[in-house]
């Protein structure tokens, strides 16, 4: 039985409310995806496009790849999902965020980067998948301090 049918029945029965479910669940498939393209596929789409409405900010050089501050945002109307992906990590998907109505489509967190890599901000706005990218260099900064 298709998941949408199951959900439909659950909503009708009052057992589940949409806000409990459409907050996308943690998916092994999404977190195992090896690339941005694979992750979008695992999220249910086969295309995404670079958009000036999506932004990603972070350092040009991260002194330590264990903690890299990244801020992502989308000003595209209807943004209900954001995610951070790191190309060169063993799995590309680092974290994803569900944006309910009334919450700004912007989030800041810190991710681990194994090596210098492109980092992507992925957004879903009105069903369309949008992307912005930035290269972040990772270096070890010496012996002390």
């Amino acid at each position: 039985m298709r998941i949408t049918a199951v959900l439909g029945a659950a909503f009708a029965a009052g057992v589940l409310s949409p806000k409990d479910v459409f907050a996308a669940e943690w998916s092994q498939k999404v977190f195992d995806a090896k690339s941005l393209a694979d992750a979008v596929k695992a999220l249910g789409s086969d295309k995404f496009e670079v958009s000036p409405d999506v932004a990603i900010t972070g350092p040009d050089i991260a002194e330590n790849g264990a903690v890299v501050p990244v801020s992502i945002s989308s000003k595209a109307p209807g943004t209900d999902f954001l995610a951070i992906l790191v190309d060169k990590n063993p799995s590309a998907m680092s974290a994803s965020f569900n944006i309910p109505a009334g919450t700004e489509a912007a989030v800041t967190t810190r991710v681990k980067m194994g090596a210098t890599s492109n980092v992507h901000a992925l957004a879903r706005a009105n069903g369309k998948w949008l992307v912005a990218s930035k290269e972040i260099k990772v270096t070890l900064g010496g012996c002390g301090g």
Binding site: V86, S94, A95, T103
Partner: protein, 103 residues
């Protein structure tokens, strides 16, 4: 129960900015200990933030989120004195809930 979080929430107009610091090892499952044994994966998977019983944010984390995770987001419709509740659940099924007051 997991370690206490630090939740800071400040309001400007009716926009509340929430900043959360969580104490968690966020072990990837790829590291080895001195004997060569793999340190098992152990990380926060889901985080839900609520304001007046409404979910204002929720996140799915993977193991590549940094140790002692930091999270910051903004939502509308809050006021000083309101409570923001944050709950995380990790891969061991361990959970932690803490409350912050909007200042």
């Amino acid at each position: 129960m997991g370690n206490p979080m630090r939740i800071r929430a400040g309001v400007a107009g009716d926009t509340v900015e929430v900043k959360i610091l969580m104490r968690h090892d966020m072990e990837t499952g790829q590291r080895k200990d001195p004997t060569g044994a793999v340190i098992p994966a152990h990380y926060i998977k889901t985080i839900v933030a609520k304001h007046k019983d409404k979910v204002v944010f929720d996140a799915n984390f993977g193991p590549s989120v940094s140790k002692d995770p930091f999270l910051s987001f903004k939502f509308k419709g809050g006021a000083a004195g309101d409570k923001v509740t944050v709950t995380w659940v990790d891969t061991s099924g361990d959970t932690r809930t803490d409350e912050g007051t909007v200042s």
